[in-house]
Symmetry: C2
């Protein structure tokens, strides 16, 4: 598995995301957490290595988390930590680690403060203070009920606004690598035209990941070439070669067609 | 694993989707294929059981496909079947099945017809006629280069318009179960208020999957309750109980807040 080949000096750390989501699998909800998390991790030198969307079934959650937590630096989960019958992520994580699932006093106090009194923390709300024994809390400034960290597994809410607020806490606990930078060059060439010269450039720059992505826009097939690397000077050198390649093929890239992310401006 | 518990009479078939996609993992591209595929499968009585987004790394593609193809009825893959160096899905599927990766004469003739002559089928384009030995082709009326089926694994393009065109061919080859119907009821109650009565309703209707999904709209936390089942009369009965529950809690659901999918109208 590629994950075994990650640099031991940790220029790049790795995350696997487990989305607990019947609502994604049913097609009802369009996931947007993946791209948000990926972009925020890029800036921290952490690569999103794999995503799994699993149903709200304990055995599936346990299997995914236990398989992935030994393979990547960090596992994130989103979804399934609310008060209803279909929220089974916290108990599943306790099963995955073989530890008790129990009321956390600090989490309970957070809920009492959020809802105003102990009486207001009804049994369903109290469920949101149940976490695996030994976990530490992840703060939730939006709606009170915390997420939690169990070893290298970070359990967050599925609602994007709450997940994003929890990530503010999570990111303080993650080791950081070298930010992943990218240049994207759009052109109107066909993939088959660029394939051979692009293979030559890719072979010359093993530390730059070069991707070729055709797309339809306005009924026309276009092409985006994406170069990604943590090494800024090498990235720019490879980008220069791709731009020259496009020009040589008559594709006329121009400044407006080049987008960069993660670069200092 | 839950998949072992699927009904043997096959009211519902199952699909796992493997998205080969560095562009999804980098955050550059927002996946939309998952929800499109899920919705189209629902109507056929086929449930999307799991999704994996894996990087463009052969070992990861092989591992995902080989793990999943024994667990579900059908595996779909999207992405990585174009002409460039980063398109490695077809060769990876050949490795997964332990068969040669070779030029398919029928696929080659399709490309010759699409591009107008044998000379126009340049080496990069010819790569798109390379498939695992024994696979059958999936037609691509949009851009010529076919996908393919290898046993229960269906290999499709990643570009949504092309994937959707290929799905027209794929769907003729899939067994069909009973369509999955759903009712969604929006209300302004809090999850903790509905948690206990909803658990009672869920216990009463084991053949209906009831989900509770909080969301932010216009800065307010709202709630959608989603009921899904292949049994229309039972679904409607359970939905009636949920509507009554909401009314009893003072949540006043109305006709405008109820959406149904898959129902005959």
């Amino acid at each position: 598995m590629e994950i075994m080949d990650l640099p031991t000096n940790k220029d790049i750390y790795s995350v696997a995301l487990v989305i607990v989501g019947n609502e994604i699998l049913s097609g009802r909800t369009q996931d947007t957490n993946t791209s948000w998390i990926a972009e925020n991790l890029n800036a921290m030198g952490i690569a999103l290595h794999q995503v799994r969307v699993v149903p709200d079934i304990e055995a599936e959650i346990v299997a995914a988390v236990n398989e992935l937590r030994g393979k990547v630096d960090y596992v994130f989960t989103t979804g399934g930590i609310g008060p209803t019958h279909d929220d089974i992520t916290s108990e599943s994580i306790a099963k995955a680690f073989g530890v008790p699932y129990e009321l956390d006093e600090v989490a309970f106090r957070i809920l009492v403060a959020h809802y105003g009194s102990e009486e207001n923390v009804t049994p369903p709300r109290k469920k949101m203070a149940m976490i695996p024994k030994g976990a530490t809390l992840i703060s939730n400034p939006v709606s009170g009920a915390p997420g939690f960290q169990m070893e290298n597994v970070f359990v967050m809410a599925g609602v994007p606004r709450i997940m994003q607020a929890m990530f503010d806490d999570v990111k303080t606990r993650l080791s950081r690598g070298k930010p992943v930078l990218s240049n994207t060059i759009a052109c109107s060439l066909q993939e088959s035209a660029v394939a051979e010269p692009l293979t030559v450039i890719q072979a010359k720059y093993p530390n730059v990941s070069i991707g070729s992505y055709p797309h339809f826009r306005g009924g026309l097939l276009g092409l985006s070439l994406v170069l990604r690397s943590s090494d800024d000077p090498v990235l720019d050198k490879a980008t220069g070669e791709v731009i020259k390649m496009i020009a040589d093929l008559g594709g006329e890239p121009n400044a407006l067609s080049i987008q960069s992310t993660g670069k200092k401006t």
